[in-house]
C-alpha cells in the first residue's frame, strides 16, 4: 500500500493540545476512519487526553468508522461539541 499524508483540521481542545489547527498524519492509501484514529493517537500523543472522545468529520459531515479516506477530502477532528 502506498503511504500518503492526510491533513486534518483540529478544533477546540484538540487544537490546543496539538498546538496547531492543522496536523498531517502519515497513513496507508484507502485507510478507514477507524484506522485513522489509531494513526492520530500514535503520531500525536498530545491528543491522548481526548482518546475515545474524538469525532472525525469528512467533507463537513460526521464520518462512519468504516468510511475510507483519500487525500482530496477535507478531514477534521474534534472533541464533542458544546455550542448553543
Amino acid at each position: 500500500m502506498t503511504a500518503q499524508q492526510i491533513q486534518i483540521k483540529l478544533f477546540a481542545r484538540a487544537r490546543e493540545l496539538a498546538e496547531s489547527d492543522l496536523i498531517s498524519v502519515a497513513v496507508s492509501e484507502g485507510i478507514t476512519v477507524a484506522a485513522l484514529r489509531l494513526a492520530i493517537a500514535d503520531q500525536f500523543p498530545q491528543l491522548k487526553p481526548l482518546t475515545g472522545q474524538l469525532l472525525i468529520a469528512v467533507d463537513n459531515a460526521y464520518a462512519g468508522e468504516d468510511q475510507t479516506l483519500n487525500e482530496k477530502q477535507e478531514v477534521a477532528c474534534f472533541p464533542p461539541v458544546s455550542g448553543g
Binding site: 478544533f11 464533542p80 458544546s82
Partner: protein, 144 residues
C-alpha cells in the same frame, strides 16, 4: 416558505433582525430562543465565554437540522445565528427564530433546533472562570 437564514458570526447578534427574517402574514406564531452568557454554573462563576466553530461544517449541520425540522412540522421560516469569539456576561451566543401557522409547531421546532444544535453542530465553548482558570466544555467526555 421563506429561505432559511444561517450565520456563524463574530459580531454581536441583533436578535430583532433575526426575528424579522421569519415574520410573515402566513404565520400566527413566532418563537425566538436565545442562549445568553450566564454568570453562575453549578456554583462556579464565569467571567466570559469563548466560542469556536468549524464554520463550513456548522453551516452544513444547521442546514440539515432545519431540513429535519421542516420534515416534522409545517415551519414557515427559520433563522439561526451563532456567535463565536469572546463573549461577556449576558451577551447572546445563539438566536433561533421560527415562524409557523400555529404556536405548537413553532415551540416544538424551536426546541428541537436548539436541542439538536447542542448535539451535533461543531461549535465549542470555553469557560473562563473567575478563579482565572479556563476550561473547554466537552459534554460527553468521561474522566474514567
Amino acid at each position: 416558505m421563506k429561505p432559511d437564514f444561517i450565520l456563524i458570526t463574530d459580531q454581536p447578534i441583533d436578535y430583532a433582525a433575526v426575528t424579522e427574517r421569519v415574520r410573515s402574514n402566513e404565520c400566527g406564531a413566532v418563537v425566538l430562543f436565545m442562549g445568553t452568557v450566564r454568570e453562575m454554573t453549578a456554583g462556579r462563576q464565569t467571567v466570559a465565554l469563548d466560542y469556536e466553530a468549524y464554520p463550513e461544517m456548522a453551516q452544513q449541520m444547521l442546514q440539515q437540522l432545519i431540513s429535519e425540522a421542516r420534515a416534522k412540522w409545517p415551519v414557515h421560516a427559520v433563522a439561526i445565528e451563532h456567535r463565536i469569539g469572546h463573549l461577556a456576561l449576558g451577551e447572546i451566543s445563539v438566536a433561533i427564530a421560527v415562524s409557523s401557522p400555529h404556536r405548537v409547531q413553532a415551540f416544538e421546532a424551536g426546541r428541537f433546533l436548539i436541542d439538536r444544535l447542542k448535539e451535533i453542530v461543531p461549535i465549542w465553548k470555553k469557560e473562563n472562570w473567575s478563579d482565572g482558570t479556563s476550561e473547554w466544555e466537552h459534554k460527553e467526555i468521561k474522566t474514567n
